[in-house]
């Protein structure tokens, strides 16, 4: 039980925590825009944390091959970080352009 395992576990479980929160948010929030909020933010953060945990865990037995694999996972992290919020923004933008009104307090869930 060394310090690396603890870091990996902390990262992985906080990632899982955020992913679970995202899933609950998608189910619980009342309308299109607010549902996209957890889908865009928490999923990105959750997968970033989980993937960072993979990167560190992969470097447990250090070698050039393991370093290359870790770099590839880091690249995935970078691309998720770029693409996922942009996709969410694009969907919200499409909703605004289509004229969907946001939910206000007191209305029924949609």
């Amino acid at each position: 039980m060394d310090i690396m395992n603890i870091i990996v576990c902390v990262l992985l479980f906080s990632g899982l925590f955020f992913l679970t929160g995202g899933a609950v948010g998608i189910l619980r929030f009342p309308d299109f825009y607010s549902r996209l909020h957890p889908a865009g933010k928490l999923d990105t953060l959750g997968s970033l944390l989980a993937m960072t945990a993979f990167v560190i865990f992969n470097l447990h037995h250090f070698s050039i091959g393991a370093l290359l694999t870790s770099l590839k996972i880091l690249l995935i992290v970078v691309f998720i970080f770029l693409a996922s919020p942009t996709a969410t923004h694009g969907i919200v933008d499409a909703g605004v352009r289509a004229g969907l009104a946001p939910w206000t307090k007191g209305e029924k869930r949609r």
Partner: protein, 275 residues
């Protein structure tokens, strides 16, 4: 009529299920496919073609003829979309719209008038909507990486999952992403319809041409080992290179077809923004 159709479907389904009962059991080692063919591919494909990825070796070498017609199917899908959807004549006189790039001021010119080409104005469609800046910028950053990855997938089909079909789809998707994030007109300006049509045919031509080259060198169609003389390598490496050649052909055909289908379907054949 519906009843008759239902009966036909039910009877055909029953026959299929009846026939499926004669299949060898799931993962049966004594089934004909596992007795002769699979062991040969698994044991011999490396020494016969020097391709570590057995799937690629089977797809493009042992069953190259099959894959050639798969490429032809994709080619015909693109051509069919073109013939069914493309509308080249205009129903009513249309006016042209030009947008000043810096200020966003749009001017309308009546039918018959045209603006001389300049960098300050871009022609836009009637249903044009301003592309979102965030999406546009993010796609601009991502598209080169997507295309680089697509080339990697095509070139690395020998060693890892991938190949012409997958790489071509990713390449086509990058251009479609450009058309979504900017507008269709700029995408068509960068990759014209004529170029797409030519590329579509060139991809199939490369595949069939590789096969025909083997035929000209007095061997069977798509038997790449005779390319050894042309490529100056030993026959086994020649088979590996032959696979790469046809994969490139497949990639080009799939790339062009993806964009062609998208352009035609997304604009209902008018090549104007908005359905």
């Amino acid at each position: 009529m519906k009843i008759v159709g239902l009966i036909i479907v039910a009877v055909t389904g029953a026959f299929l299920i009846y026939a499926a009962a004669d299949f060898p059991a799931w993962s049966d080692p004594a089934s004909p496919a596992s007795t002769y063919l699979s062991p040969h591919f698994i044991e011999k494909s490396m020494e016969e073609t020097s391709v570590p990825n057995i799937v690629t070796a089977v797809l493009a070498d042992y069953r190259g003829f099959d894959t050639m017609f798969e490429t032809t199917v994709i080619f015909s899908a693109g051509v069919v979309c073109f013939f069914l959807l493309r509308i080249s004549r205009r129903e009513e006189p249309e006016s042209r719209y030009y947008r000043h790039v810096l200020t966003g001021v749009t001017i309308q010119l009546k039918e018959g008038y045209k603006m001389p080409p300049s960098d300050d104005f871009e022609q836009i469609d009637a249903a044009w909507t301003p592309p979102d800046l965030i999406v546009k910028t993010a796609c601009r950053i991502l598209i080169p990486f997507i295309q680089l990855f697509a080339l990697y997938v095509i070139a690395h089909g020998h060693h890892s999952p991938g190949g012409g079909f997958q790489g071509g789809v990713i390449l086509g998707a990058s251009v479609i992403l450009f058309a979504i994030s900017h507008d269709l007109r700029s995408a068509v300006r960068r990759m014209s319809e004529k170029l797409i049509a030519i590329l579509c045919a060139v991809g199939v031509l490369i595949y069939a041409g590789t096969g025909a080259l083997c035929l000209l060198l007095k061997q069977n169609f798509l038997d790449y080992s005779v390319l050894a003389g042309v490529l100056h390598v030993d026959p086994i490496t020649a088979r590996s290179h032959g696979i790469l050649m046809v994969e490139i052909g497949v990639g080009i055909a799939v790339l062009a077809t993806m964009i062609w289908i998208y352009n035609n379907v997304s604009s209902a054949g008018r090549y104007r923004q908005g359905l």
